[in-house]
Amino acid sequence: MFGLLSTWSDWATSLSTLSEHFPVLVVVVPMLSAPLCFLSRNGRAARGISFFALLSCLLMVIHLLGRVLDEGVVSYRLGGWPPPLGIEYRYDQINAFVALIVAFVATVVVPFGQNKKAFRVPAGRTNVIYAVYLLCTSGLLGMCVTGDLFNVYVFLEISSLSAYTLVAIGAERRAMMSAFSYLTMGTIGGLFFLIGIGMLYQMTGTLNIVDLSMRLYDVSSVRTLSVAFATLFVGVSIKLAVFPLHQWLPNAYTYAPPKVSAFLAATATKVAFYVMLRIIFTIFGRERSFEQMNLDRILLPLSIAAMFMGSIAAIYQTNIKRLLAFSSIAQIGYMTLGISLDSLTGLVGGIVHLFNHALMKGGLFLAVACILFRLGSVKIDDMRGIGRRMPWTMGAVVVLGLGLVGVPGTVGFVSKWYLVLGALERELYVVAFLTLVSSLLAVVYVWRLVEVAWFSDPKPGIRMAEVREAPLTMVVPVWALAAATIYFGIFTEHSAGVARLAAAQLFGGTP
């Protein structure tokens, strides 16, 4: 009896001891599961391992987000070395939130069904994909949670290298080429980022982000500071695919396997956006970024250009994946617009759109995976009349598409509301108007899909009668995201509410 009790209390103690280490385990668990996947030599086992690794990751992140919301910042010292000497993992409202998105999407994508033909990997070696996938997730999570700038770079490279690999295993041969251009651009971006870090280190002698931000107050060398800011900004902009540094993105998303597109679209750019927020608001601070560097003068026009060019390009695409990729460029424009408005409300809009866009674009790319699975094509013209054959999948596409348009009652409206309100608060009437007009372009490309799917007769030569609804394992995740699009459009406490806290924290200048 007592033995049992003591075992139980031992368990409880060890769990609470373990929970002390959750901050680092979030990164370590997927990273160490990657070699396990590699060694398992079996696709199915690897899938199981990655699912459980990521699920545990997700639960830990939820636990940590709860702690952050209750207690404030959670700091973890790697190896017990106090910062700024040692590396610190630091969870606050904003990065716990981003980490949650990454962990959530990564977990959802794994069990999602797939067509073996989507990957150019010999049968029986699909375990490799999961190994790379876990590494990529681990890198992205690491970028979120680390409090050390050089560590951010390390994780950035881990996630990028594995992302190149994931793109390259797409079924078409053009995947290789698009992965190569992604690699080229990504490496340049990484290099810029590294140079920026070098300059900051040279000026302050520290790499810890909090420490860095404090020491930068005393730095008087404006020119080095400006150059460091510029290089860091350009480096992250490439990773984020800010217009006009977006050229790598459409091809990468188009030729990557559909699951990978869903994963990357929902996470990689979001983490890059988070790093951009950190650089602008935490390291340099709002005043320095906007009043000395005049960031808004460059970022505002670029954001608006992205919103328009991305949407207009999306209208003319014939491949649905490419359409969604260009739409992503436009949506990234909305996020950076949130930064460039230099107002608290606008920033809330940018941050909440990070979350909202992850839901919508993740869901849409997964729906595309369903279509590819049954139809064997992602050409819009081949999809004529598919609504009747795959009503659930295409119904989700309509809901998610309405989200992209920003119809009230969906998450897109929440983002749009904050962005337009932010612009009007700054009395930027033209910007507010352009933001709304650009969302009309989304109506055009979304409605093209709706009309093709629901109101057209099948194209001759396509055996539409043989197309069936995708299996439940695929439709359920898609609908989970579609339902979330509506849920978080009405109950915004856990999306916009958290974004408000995060924005207030960033905007206040306190790290």
């Binding site: 309405l402 348009v405 920003g406 119809v407 009230p408 009652g409 929440v414 749009k416 509301w417 337009v420 309100l421 009007l424 608060e425 507010a432 108007f433 709304l436 007009v437 969302s439 009309l440 109506v443 409605w447 009309e451 629901w454 109101f455 007769d457 459009g489 009405i490 109950f491 915004t492 916009a496």
Partner: protein, 513 residues
């Protein structure tokens, strides 16, 4: 039943109806019965709400706080109640009519049709009871998207083209202008609630008031103010029941209702009258009244003619809102009901003619009155109401609108109303005149005969002289149009109640009536 529950049930019963229709799609009779029952249930709950309103119970329902300042909430006030009664009252009749029309016309996808129809009614009621601009906007967009499948119902290239125009104009105006105006209102006043007397007084720069008002008016594309009126004629490709209920009643009235509501509860009449902020809107509306009437004269297709007549009549209401005197506002509110009853009758008649004889153009309708006396009598009565002659309801609302214009010392707008009446005689009376007093021309007779034969109508098929036979549309079509025609009469006698219902919305203004 508590008042809150009544609001919930009124909003839910069309939704439940939509789901049940979807589930019972396989059994045609069950489906159509459910559709009508859902309509009756909705009407019952709206009447209950009206009863609570008469008892001065507080009728409000808060659903959820979406964001700080944005609440999904409902509240019943007189103007919304009139609109809700109109939409809910005419829905069961339209269902009955659609029942006859869709079968008589052998339309495809009838289940989708009835589902979207019910969804559109739910959205219309949401607009009617909206407590703030956010709720109104949400249901406004929902109404657009739920009616799109109805417009493209035929699935032909022409229908898709029309659907694009429909969605394109309605969504782009609502997002680019209406949403802009809503966010602007929020940025200025910090709230989106509808309040008697408005929320902008003392907060908005008076120089910007006309700009904001025009942004609202153009943003509400459903009001079909020129130059954003093209979607309405385009939407006429839809089956006639859709044109009747949605594009003569629910959708377009949602537009003008929103404008009146915004004028009364966001701007406030007193605030708007300061410095004549609404003068530009009045000119645009007056221009729309006249030019749409003139265009209607030139249309040979009956539905297109009625569509332009609708545009003109909607602008009456917008003009009344822009004049913004108590009489004009009450007249606008009354005209929502009066025009709804009359215009739905006209569309029902157009559809009945099409089902019975396959004729769509006015020039083909010579002598049809003898074959379809009930239909054309109803058409005549409804025409009187549109023109504004007693003893039909339209005469009262037009009178109050004209009084309102005179109160505002802008007799020119009263002249606009009168001139438009003359024009409407010009485009409506020839239809009736030709049908009753002209003899069917030879070509028409052969066509009609051919159509009859094609219908397999043996009873009339052997009539050599088509003029002699009585050939009405199915009873399910004729019954609703007779009821709505009688409603036009009834509204003449019940106008006092409508007036008493609407008067409180302008009670607190300082301008004498």
């Amino acid at each position: 039943m508590t008042p809150e529950l009544a609001i919930q049930l009124a909003l839910f019963s069309p939704c439940v109806g939509a789901v049940l229709v979807l589930l019972s799609g396989r059994w045609q009779n069950v489906r159509d019965t459910i559709s009508i029952l859902a309509g009756i249930a909705t009407l019952y709950f709206v009447i209950r709400i009206a009863g609570y309103h008469a008892d001065e119970a507080r009728l409000a329902l808060e659903v959820v706080d979406v964001m700080p300042g944005l609440t999904l909430a409902f509240e019943v006030e007189p103007l919304g109640l009139v609109y809700a009664l109109v939409a809910a009252g005419l829905w069961p009749l339209t269902s009955l009519y659609a029942f006859g029309y869709m079968r008589g016309h052998h339309e495809k996808n009838q289940t989708r049709f009835f589902v979207c129809f019910a969804a559109a009614i739910a959205a219309a009621l949401g607009i009617a009871f909206a407590r703030n601009l956010f709720t109104l906007f949400l249901f406004y967009e929902l109404l657009t998207f739920s009616t799109y499948p109805l417009v493209t119902h035929a699935g032909t290239e022409a229908a898709k083209q029309a659907g694009r125009k429909y969605l394109g104009i309605l969504v782009s105006t609502s997002v680019a202008f209406l949403l802009f105006a809503i966010v602007w209102t929020y940025a200025v006043s910090g709230t989106l609630e509808f309040r008697p007397g408005g929320i902008l007084d003392g907060k908005l720069n008076p120089a910007l008031t006309p700009v904001l008002l025009l942004t609202f008016a153009f943003g509400i594309g459903k009001a079909a103010l020129m130059p954003f009126h093209k979607w309405l004629p385009a939407a006429m490709v839809a089956p006639t029941p859709v044109s009747a209920l949605l594009h003569a009643v629910a959708v377009v009235k949602a537009g003008v209702f929103s404008i009146v509501k915004i004028v009364v509860y966001v701007f406030g009449i007193d605030f708007l009258r300061q410095g004549n902020a609404s003068l530009w809107l009045a000119y645009i509306a007056a221009f729309t009244v006249l030019s749409a009437s003139v265009v209607a004269l030139s249309k040979d297709n009956l539905k297109a003619r009625l569509a332009y007549s609708t545009i003109s009549q909607l602008a009456y209401i917008v003009l009344g809102a822009a004049i913004a005197t108590p009489n004009a506002i009450v007249g606008s509110g009354m005209h929502i009901a009066m025009h709804a009853a009359a215009k739905i009758t006209l569309f029902f008649c157009a559809g009945a003619i099409m089902v019975a004889t396959h004729k769509t153009n006015v020039s083909q309708m010579r002598g049809l009155g003898r074959r379809m006396p009930v239909t054309f009598t109803a058409f005549f009565i409804a025409s009187l109401s549109i023109i504004g002659l007693p003893p039909t309801g339209g005469s009262w609302s037009k009178m109050f609108l004209a009084f309102g214009a005179v109160d505002a010392h802008q007799a020119v707008f009263a002249g606009v109303y009168m001139l438009s009446s003359l024009l409407s005689i010009g485009y409506l009376m020839p239809v009736v005149g030709r049908a009753f007093f002209c003899r069917a021309d030879a070509a028409g007779a052969i066509n009609a005969h051919g159509a009859d034969a094609a219908h397999g109508d043996a009873e009339h098929g052997d009539h050599g002289d088509v003029n002699g036979g009585l050939h009405e549309a199915p009873l399910a079509c004729v019954l609703p149009l007779s009821i709505t025609a009688l409603l036009c009469f009834a509204l003449f006698y019940f106008a006092r109640d409508l007036y008493a219902l609407l008067l409180p919305i302008v009670r607190d203004t300082t301008i004498g009536g």
